[in-house]
């Protein structure tokens, strides 16, 4: 199966070409855009972990190490397309249009963190594993019924492939030929459970075969491989040629969440070693150096401006006024039915507010 689904790559760990098909399109401009987005998300992620440690937000879910997978794929999507992220995909959603402030608000336990940006079809993070695959299929199916050429992308982890909803999502998309890209990030673990315990299958991409759909396996730390192969899948979807299952092989350096202790279940030294070898950001830096695209001054200034942007977002998050308890009651239905209205009144009364 690993032979049937080889891990596609465009540049290797040293930033050297392994597939030159897209050489003409890999301009300095595109490369710098990808690098900028990856660095931005990485700095954001580290800030998130720190804010949690300082008690300024709640539990945070880090994604460091998965930047290339999320950003390469998100950049392949267009205006009007749909995105269905999990709790770990803030790099994807910030690339597709979420503001950093909104993302921070989510982890501060604020309902506002679920509101999509104006004009962008971004679902709130799916917390129940694999449930979102069906929504992505439904939304894509709707676009097909409406006769547009829009598509959906849905994110999920290796563990998610065990849930029934994963299989139902793929089967529905296959049966109804829905324009959806199933983007799996195989980071090797579902919390503590390694992929070898999760499944006997050697790859995730091969699961596409059962649903008669295109399956693609790629190096999820090679942002070019992710971008171009996802773009191909999206193009296929737009042309009515059906869904694709993409397996991006990647790694998370951090804990599953800030409430998790990975030293319980994996060798942390091995994980740290990957920072020097397979790291997606470092790989792009090496590539840029090889291709004479790297400029030290540009890189330093970039780091500074991104840090300032993130600090400004933290400030905005922290200056957002506390929510009013009416928000608990007023958005369950279009109009409050009497039980909710009377509970709301009783609550206000109990506080002496009414």
């Amino acid at each position: 199966m690993e032979k049937l689904f080889p891990k596609l790559q465009i540049i290797n760990e040293n930033g050297e070409w392994t597939d030159e098909t897209y050489r003409g399109e890999i301009t300095e401009e595109l490369t710098k855009e990808l690098y900028t987005k990856m660095l931005r998300s990485r700095l954001f992620d580290r800030k998130g972990v720190n804010l949690q440690r300082q008690g300024r937000i709640g539990t945070y879910v880090p994604f460091e190490g998965q930047e290339a997978s999320q950003i390469g794929s998100a950049l392949a999507m267009g205006e009007g397309d749909w995105m269905f992220p999990t709790y770990r995909d803030h790099a994807a959603t910030m690339t597709f249009g979420h503001s950093l402030k909104t993302l921070f608000l989510y982890w501060k336990g604020r309902q506002e963190g679920c509101i999509p940006p104006e004009g962008k079809n971004i679902f709130p993070p799916a917390v129940p594993i694999a449930s979102q695959l069906l929504h992505a299929t439904g939304a894509a199916w709707a676009e097909k019924l409406k006769g547009t050429d829009r598509a959906s992308i849905v994110y999920f982890g290796d563990g998610a492939t065990s849930e029934g909803d994963f299989h139902e999502g793929l089967n529905f998309a296959s049966v109804f030929n829905a324009p959806v890209v199933f983007f799996n990030q195989n980071n090797g673990f579902a919390i503590s459970v390694p992929i070898e315990k999760q499944m006997k299958s050697k790859t995730i991409a091969q699961k596409a075969v059962a649903y008669e759909m295109e399956g693609v396996r790629l190096d999820g730390n090679d942002v070019f491989a992710v971008y171009f192969h996802t773009r191909t899948a999206v193009e296929r979807a737009r042309k009515g040629e059906g869904p694709t299952l993409i397996e991006a092989v990647t790694w998370r350096y951090g804990a599953h969440t800030t409430a998790d202790d990975p030293s319980k279940y994996r060798n942390q030294d091995e994980s740290a070693t990957r920072r020097e070898t397979t790291d997606p950001v470092l790989r792009l830096e090496r590539f840029m150096k090889n291709e004479n695209m790297w400029d030290e001054k540009w890189a330093t200034e970039l780091q500074e401006s991104l840090t300032a942007e993130i600090e400004a977002a933290v400030k905005e998050m922290e200056e957002t006024p506390a929510p009013h308890y009416n928000d608990v009651f007023d958005h369950v239905f279009a109009e409050n039915p009497w039980p909710i209205e009377s509970q709301k009144e009783a609550y206000a009364h109990s506080r002496g507010d009414r």
Binding site: T59, G109, S350
Partner: protein, 331 residues
Amino acid sequence: MTTAVDTKKLTMVQAVTDGMRVMMKEQENVIVLGEDVGQNGGVFRATDGLVAEFGDHRVIDTPLAESGIIGTSIGLAMNGFKPIAEMQFLGFIYPAFNQIMTHASRIRARTLGAFTVPMVIRAPFGAGVRAPEIHSDSVEALFTGMPGMKVVVPSNPYDAKGMLISAIEDPDPVLFLEPMRCYRSTKMDVPDGKYNVPLGKAARLQEGDDVTIFAYGAMIDVVTKAAKTAEEKGIKCDVIDLRTLYPLDKEMIAESVQKTGRAVIVHEAPGTGGLGETIMSLINDTSFLYMKAPVERVTGFDTPVPMFALEDHYLPSAERVVQAIEKVTQF
């Protein structure tokens, strides 16, 4: 004759682990399965050390699929094992709802007792720990309203271990709910070895003649504070920890309200369809003519549990409970 029993100071989560350990030692066919229960010892460490002690054939990291965990546990239970299946959070039990509703709860009835499902489903639940979305759901009433399921909720380490042992020994499926807020809130002397706290029996935590307060799980702490405030105002409360939600301890409920004539019911689950309604109907059936005031309920709202920035508004507070106590006494 009394024999000295050794005890250890344990938190509730440690007491849960100890309960499983005792039963796994005693009965070869008791197995533990769920997501991250092995090497990791569970996301709350409830199964900490069990895989080292009993091996990975008895403490099993399953694939990530709740329907799979419960469905296979049903097969295991029908075929000689006693599975203790962990749901990582009650808010993630929903994919398994079909298996519980259509099979676990009714195989005995369907086969007139030829097949049975002696299994325990453990699940942490409840709000108030700043958890992310969905993790805080308190949906015990979905299961108390499900024919064929027993539902229990301990509120302290001693009960947790004793009730878990009773649940494992029970011949039928038991949903064992563990209030996250209580997991590490206190330590308590817990006897070593095996002991039972019976299912179906409530506990009177405090004796009083004026008002009965019914609560369970994490709300016990809230109502205990409220009862103290009430006492300072001269109102003496009978505080009842229900412990088992199905079947309820009808005798103790009736006996207490017949004494006090007033009742306040507290739970964090939504009011509509909640346990409060069942208790009110029991009071109506057994003690209508004893009541001196309409029963008050302090519950969660008919809304999803909000994200944690607002969860303190959602959760019943001691202040709201005191107001309810005053309302029934001043009626």
